[in-house]
Structure formats: C-alpha cells, structure tokens
C-alpha cells in the first residue's frame, strides 16, 4: 500500500503537503470558516462523492410528482417558451439537427446525451418539438439539484426533473434511487432525458456511460434516442456561473432511435448507445458519412468515448489538449442576421447548417 505512483491519493496527499496548514488555527474566524466549508447557507453539506447510496439513506427522496401536474406543466410551458428559450436562443443561437428522427416516435423514449454543461438540458428540451418536450422528464443528480429544497423545486418545475442517485450503477449493477421512478414514468407515458455519464465532463470530452440508461431501456422496452451536444463546454463549463458573453457555436444533434436487440445485454446496449452519441458528436468534424464509417469500425472494438477523429490520440493526451479540442469552434454560423432564420454558410443554402455533414443530412436549422 505504499505510495509512489505518479497519480492517485498518495500523490494528492503529497501535493497537499505544499498547501497551507489547516485546522490548527485558533481563531474563531478560522473555526467558522472550517465549519462552513462545503456547506450551503443553511449549513447543509453535500454528501461526499464516494459515499455509497445506502449510507445516505437518512435523506428522504425529493418528491417531484407535483411537477408533472397540469398546473405545473402550464407554468413550466410559460416559463420555457416565454423566458428561458428566447433568452437562451438569443444568446447561444444553437444549430439543431436530426429532429426529423423524432417525427416517427410513438410512445416514450429515453434520450441519452453527452453532458458538459448546465446548458445541455435547456438546449435539448428547447430543441425538442413542443409536444415531445412537454412529455419529457429529466433525470437530475439528486445530490446536486435536489440537495436543497429551493434548487429542487426550481429544477423540478423548470425542467420537469426527478432525482437520480448517481452513486448507484457503474459496472456493479447496483442501482441508485430513481431507477424505479424512471421506469414508472416511462410506464406512464413520459419520455426521459438522461445523461449517462453521471456528471458534467471536466474537459469537454465525452466520458464513459454508466449502465442505468441502457438498463432502463431494456426494462421498459423503449428505444434510446442518442443526442450529442457540442459547444456548451466552451459556453458554460463546470465551475462557471454564467455563460460566456461570446459563446462558441453550439449544436444539438438528434440521432435515429436505437432499439435494443432481443438478446442484447445492458453493457452491450450501453456500448452501442455510446457509439451512436460518439458518432453524432464527431459529425461536426468528419461529416455524417465519416462518422458512420467511424462508428462501423468502432463496433468491432470496445467503444472509446469521443475517440472519433480528430480525437485520435487526443483522448489520452493531457487535459489541456482535451479542453483545447472541446472548445474548438466546430461550425461557423456566419454573420448574425437581424431577422432571424438560418445563417448563410458556404455553400449558401437556405435552411442548411454548415459543412458537408449537415448538407448531407439536410436538416440543420435554428428552431
């Protein structure tokens, strides 16, 4: 158990040695600062990340059934269409593609998306057709969004969210709180938006998917709709409170619904979902066909999150290089037009997004 590795807890301890001594101080201010550290204004601390779900049983699950009632839905619709979406679209001007895949949906689905920013949820919900968005609930981290009543109520009302215990799952198969609720919601006809990475990416790069979303699809017998969001990491990365004033181009891509095969296991289906999201994510760089080719080749090997070109070799690179790639402008929206509508791009084509990929799929439009 001796240390000596380049990374890991021991090394973190070594780095910490260089920091200021803490806890030994004698002043009241120091004591107060230590007591307050990591707690909200009411003195509540979020449970440590490593805390198993069963150890946090003291906390009662946050009830969100009210948020799916008709009055709440009315209020949500007013807030979303009247305030949130206009502000967000005016600021971020996202390019939305692949909505045609949603036209044929009958019944609930599970939207699975990569996650790099708090902008992802309002963007995806805003990009969904109105009737679909109105019947979509969002799985949100219980320990983050539902740790306090204020944020819990706001999140549930605004995004029709329900708490998901993200400390369950991983590869062990152990399920966190919220898995049962998600199944019940789907049984009741609600679609569910999940971010299977479990947390926002710290470098903009897509991380490994947990099993929960795949298992939910298998249990409920519903398809998964892959969604790739790009550019939000550059616009509002984790740690920032407000979006950047001049955000990088943002895109939301919906893929074709993916249905689990009869004999497919949850890990296998999870891998397939990852490849689909990965391919969508890479479309901006290599085009639709290139992404398809990449996905086919990747099908023979275990999925490598966000390993599609041009990330070859980048995923194992230093963090700054991953951040660098994640914040690289992908689509040039061109000069902003006063009267709205799609920005003209090369080749000029009304209603088309930029690049060969969008041209090939012919679906990019600002909604």
């Amino acid at each position: 158990m001796t240390g000596g590795q380049d990374s890991g807890p021991g090394n973190r301890a070594a780095r910490w040695l260089g920091g200021a001594a803490r806890g030994s101080g004698g002043s009241l201010r120091r004591d107060l600062a230590l007591v307050r550290q990591g707690r909200d204004w009411r003195g509540r601390a979020r449970p440590p990340r490593g805390l198993p779900a069963e150890q946090d049983a003291a906390r009662a699950p946050f009830r969100t059934a009210w948020a799916r009632s008709a009055p709440a839905a009315l209020a949500r619709d007013a807030l979303r269409t009247g305030v949130l979406k206009p502000l967000l679209w005016a600021h971020a001007r996202p390019v939305v593609t692949g909505r045609e895949h949603l036209a044929g949906l009958r019944g609930p689905v599970v939207f699975v998306a990569n996650h790099a920013s708090h902008l992802d949820t309002p963007l995806i919900l805003g990009a969904l057709p109105g009737p679909v968005a109105a019947r979509t609930t969002v799985g949100a981290a219980a320990d983050h969004f539902f740790a306090s009543r204020l944020t819990g109520v706001t999140t549930a009302l605004l995004f029709n969210a329900f708490p998901v215990d993200r400390r369950g799952d991983r590869e062990t198969g152990r399920r966190g709180h919220g898995a049962g609720l998600a199944t019940r919601l789907i049984d009741s006809g609600w679609s569910v938006l999940l971010f299977p990475e479990g947390s926002r990416s710290r470098d903009g790069w897509m991380g490994w998917f947990r099993l929960g979303a795949a298992r939910l699809c298998l249990d409920a017998g519903v398809p998964a709709v892959p969604v790739a969001v790009r550019g939000t990491f550059a616009a509002l990365p984790p740690g920032d409170a407000l979006p950047r004033r001049d955000p990088a181009p943002i895109s939301v891509r919906f893929g074709r619904p993916v249905v689990a095969r009869p004999d497919e296991t949850a890990p296998a289906f999870r891998d397939r979902m990852m490849r689909e999201v990965n391919a969508l994510w890479a479309e901006s760089d290599v085009g639709w066909y290139g992404a398809l080719r990449g996905a086919v080749e990747a099908a023979d090997t275990p999925p490598t999150p966000a390993a599609a070109p041009p990330a070859d070799g980048v995923r194992r690179a230093a963090r700054w290089r991953r951040v660098w790639e994640s914040t690289r402008p992908t689509e040039r929206p061109g000069r902003r037009r006063v009267w709205g509508g799609p920005a003209p791009t090369w080749p000029r084509q009304r209603g088309a997004g930029s690049g060969a990929a969008d041209g090939a799929r012919g679906g990019a439009r600002r909604s």
């Binding site: 001796t2 301890a13 910490w16 920091g19 803490r22 440590p48």
Partner: protein
C-alpha cells in the same frame, strides 16, 4: 436496518473532519484520497430492558437459570465492572444497577442472606462512595454500603486466595470472598471486544501475582490485537485462568453490549458524520470548542467529566462465561466493525479526553500514550490499519499534567523511569518489581484513591505492540518536551506531521484515519 460501517475516501466535497485532541477537538482537512473509517450507524437500544434482563436470567446460555442456582444459606457474591466502563459513564440508571437489582430481587425471593457486592477494580484506584452509588444505584448502595459493597483490594493478602497454577505455570490468585462463594454473579459491560468473557473474573478480582502473567511486554506484543480475542495471547492467558477458576467456583455471568450513543446533546455532533451535521451541530461544535477554551483547565476538565452518555443496550445475555461471550462479541462487532481493505502507510488517530483510567481525573502523558498506541491502535481485527514500519499520527496536546492523588506512581514513572529508557522490555526488567512492591504505593492504593504502583508499567506495555510495529510516532499539537520524553515526535500541524512522516514513508503516503468517537473496530483485510 442500520447503516453499515463506511470507509470514505476524502474528496473535494468532504467537509473538514472532526478530530479529537484531549479536552478539545478540531476540524481537520485531510488530504484528498485519504480514507476515513466510520463505524456502522448507531444501533437501536433494547426498549424494554427489564424484560430483556428477566429473560436473560431465566433463559441463560450454558447454565441453569439463575433462580435455580439460588438457595437459602448460600454465599452469593455479585461482582461488577468498575468505573473504567463504559466511557463516558452511563447516564443513570446504569445498566449494572438495573441488572444487580434484578439479581437481588431473585436472591431475596430465595432467602439468600449472605450477599456481598464487589467492584472488580483489580489494580485500578478504588471507586469513591459517590462513584459506587452511581454504578449500583441508590437502593443497592443504601442496602449494602459500606460493609457489603466494596472495592476489590488486590493487596489485602488475607483476603486473596491462590487457586493454583494453569498448565502454563500462571498463578491464579483472586479475591477470597469471591473464590469461596457458592456462586459468583458477574455483571459486565462489554464496551469493546477486549472486555468481558474470561477477563471479567480472572482480571477484575486478581492480584499483581496473577496479573503479571498476562500484563507484560511479551504477551502484549503477542496480542494482535487485544481486541481480537482469538488472536490475543493475553486472552489466551485469561481463558486458561478462567478454566481454573471455573473448576473451583461457579460463575454466572451477565454480559451487556452497548450501541454507539456515546454523547448526549449538545455533544451529539461528536457521534455524527460531518456532512450530516445540521446547523445546531455546527453551532454546538463552535460553542464547545470555543467555550471550553474560555474555561480554566480545572473547570474544563470538570465540564467534560460531567458528561453522562445515553448509551443504549443492544444485548443482555447470561449464563456460563464461555457460552455468553461469543453472543456479546457478535453484538459488539455488529455495532463497531467496519471492513477495511488494505493497510495504509500512515494511520491517523484522535485521542479523546477520556480513557479507562482517568475517569474524573487527569489524562497524563502516559495515559495518552496508552490510549493512542494502546487502545486506538489496537482497534483492529486481522491487521493494524497501518502497515509495519508505517507512521502513526496522533492528536493530543500532551500537557505535562498528573493527578497526584490518582496517579502518584505515574509521576515517578515519568520522571524516574522514562528518563532512563522508553523501551518497554527494559523498563519491565529494570523497574517493574520495584514499583509493584513499593510499600508507599501499596498504601496509597489501599487507603487513598491511587492506582497501583505497577499500573503505569502496564500502560506502557499497552503501547508495546504499536511501538514495535510503527516506524515513527508523531503527536500533532503536542508539547515537544513531553513527546520527546515519551520517545515520540511532535508536530504543530498535520502538514508538518506528514512532512516528518515523509522521511519514513515517503512523500506520497496512503493515509487512513480511524474516526473515533464513535468506537470503530477496523477489520483490515
């Protein structure tokens, strides 16, 4: 169902963690990646204790029911654990009082007249009348004190009886009254796995002649740990002695196990996990920490020692010691055991204000060492939480303070013995006999309220296993002169301690903090 034990890896969300340091505590920000061992959540106590006691007495294990053992004209001796258990002392009514009252009800019903109550204090200081009253309750105290309710006197040669030697040549000498009784009823509190079982009678009622066979450096170094009776050479010796005692006098033992409800409000935060502290807990922490600093040392000590714990009883079992103790241990483990994967390079321990030998007294430097390197270090099964050659970091200010009434031989041990050697084996061979037989210490033990002259040696031996196992011992916040006298090093902060430790374990140590209170027994694989 109660939450199981927890090994938490410190991350950026983990709030600063509580660490005890004598009559105070601090919040310490441990390095990310350090592991913290918490015990299972506090188990619920038995709601109807009287019914549980009655059931235990009437449905014992490996013995006839107690009423069947009682008859007119018999000699009945009720022996009970002394003030060293539990820690902190139990809020009235003490569980011993409840059990003794039940036993006496049965004895009265069976017209038993010859009843004596003896505190099993071995070489500990005598309990004061007030302390006895607290443990046995007012009704028992008034009925039996002083003639028939007393402390065991390990130096009263006329009232000791040598029962013989074990197969290993160990002398067994215990209290004569108990040894010549028709029945010994032993009332026990098993706070940690070391307590109870064969230890109760063979240690609690023994003399120095008997105790020296297991309270020595060799035996303690061979007890890994002494909280794991199956692997404890000390407990093997107890077992041999109990076998001999059991062959000559009938022992009916009543054992109890406690939960981890060790502190009343507003000190309840001491037993809670830090991220679950509410605003009241935080205010109580600030109030207790700052408030205690405003008090003089004497007042502060008095305030801490007035704490009476609301302990809940999780098990009451009675019968033959060998049949009862496994049941009690199971309940102790259920409350205290946390599985831990692998040993660390550095073990961190916070030494609290109280150990078994400073109830209503001062925790002098030798007791601090014994609490840290003895009791806390030995809170393990299988392997210590620190690897061999690793570093133990302990928190305590180590003031140069002694209680002159309770610990006279400790003071001399500190001044005269430790200045010559800190090696337990050297200390044992050169000085133990002299202190154990010193007439002045014997007199103070018998007539005053002093611990026996040999007691500081035992406390020093208590550290022998840890001293042999650890590559370095560092006390954070300690008086450097005192730490140096004990053979340890002092550091002002954890960062300094880790810096010192880096010479032994390198700059990237794995760290494990045994969070106490509440009591945690690490099962290290």
């Amino acid at each position: 169902m109660s939450r199981p034990g927890l090994v938490l890896e410190v991350d950026e969300r983990t709030p600063p963690l509580l660490v005890c340091e004598g009559e105070g505590f601090r919040l310490e920000q441990l390095p990310h990646g350090a592991r913290v061992v918490y015990p299972p959540a506090c188990l619920p106590g038995i709601r109807d204790l009287d019914a549980a006691i009655t059931r235990a007495l009437h449905q014992p294990h490996g013995s006839d029911p107690l009423p069947a053992l009682l008859r007119p004209g018999m000699r009945l001796t009720i022996v009970f654990d002394d003030l060293s258990l539990p820690l902190p002392p139990m809020r009235s009514p003490d569980i011993r009082q409840r059990i003794i009252e039940h036993v006496l009800e049965l004895a009265a019903a069976h017209r038993v007249d010859d009843v004596e109550l003896i505190a099993a204090n071995a070489l500990h200081r005598r309990m004061t009348p007030a302390e006895l009253r607290h443990v046995v309750g007012d009704r028992v105290f008034r009925s039996f004190f002083p003639r028939h309710l007393r402390n065991h006197d390990a130096e009263d040669q006329e009232n000791l009886l040598h029962l013989g030697q074990t197969g290993h040549g160990e002398d067994v000498e215990i209290n004569r009254r108990a040894a010549e009784s028709d029945l010994i009823v032993y009332v026990n509190i098993t706070l940690v796995a070391m307590n109870g079982g064969s230890k109760s009678v063979s240690v609690g009622l023994a003399s120095y002649r008997s105790l020296r066979h297991h309270h020595n450096v060799d035996t303690l170094r061979g007890s890994r740990s002494f909280n794991d009776p199956a692997r404890s050479a000390m407990h093997h010796s107890y077992d041999r002695m109990q076998d001999l005692i059991g062959g000559q006098v009938r022992v009916f033992t009543i054992e109890t196990a406690l939960n981890n409800d060790a502190f009343p409000q507003p000190l309840g935060f001491l037993s809670k996990r830090e991220w679950e502290w509410n605003a009241a807990d935080q205010a109580a922490f600030i109030g207790a920490r700052r408030g205690s600093r405003l008090l003089s040392p004497a007042l502060r000590r008095r305030a801490f020692h007035r704490v009476a714990a609301p302990w809940g009883v999780t098990s009451v079992a009675a019968g033959a010691p060998s049949a009862v103790h496994p049941i009690t241990l199971r309940h102790v483990h259920r409350q205290q055991v946390t599985p831990v994967s692998g040993q660390a390079d550095v073990g961190v321990f916070g030494v609290p204000y109280l150990c078994p030998y400073n109830v209503n007294s001062v925790m002098n430097p030798i007791l601090v060492a014994s609490m840290g390197l003895g009791y806390l270090f030995n809170m393990y099964l299988n392997k210590p939480i620190v690897r061999r050659g690793g570093v133990g970091i302990f928190y305590h200010p180590l003031p140069n303070e002694f209680h002159t009434v309770h610990h006279p031989s400790y003071l001399d041990f500190y001044e005269d013995v430790l200045t010559q050697s800190t090696d337990p084996a050297v200390v044992e061979s050169k000085f133990e006999e002299q202190f154990a037989t010193d007439p002045w210490y014997v007199h103070l033990y018998r007539r005053s309220y002093a611990y026996h002259g040999v007691h500081p040696f035992y406390m020093w031996y208590w550290c022998a296993h840890a001293r042999e196992h650890l590559g370095d011992v560092i006390f954070v916040g300690a008086d450097p002169a005192v730490a140096s006298r004990l053979g340890f090093r002092a550091a002002s902060t954890l960062a300094d301690a880790l810096q010192l430790a880096s010479h032994t374990v390198g700059g990237s140590p794995e760290i494990t903090y045994l969070h106490a209170p509440p009591l945690t027994l690490a099962d290290v694989s």
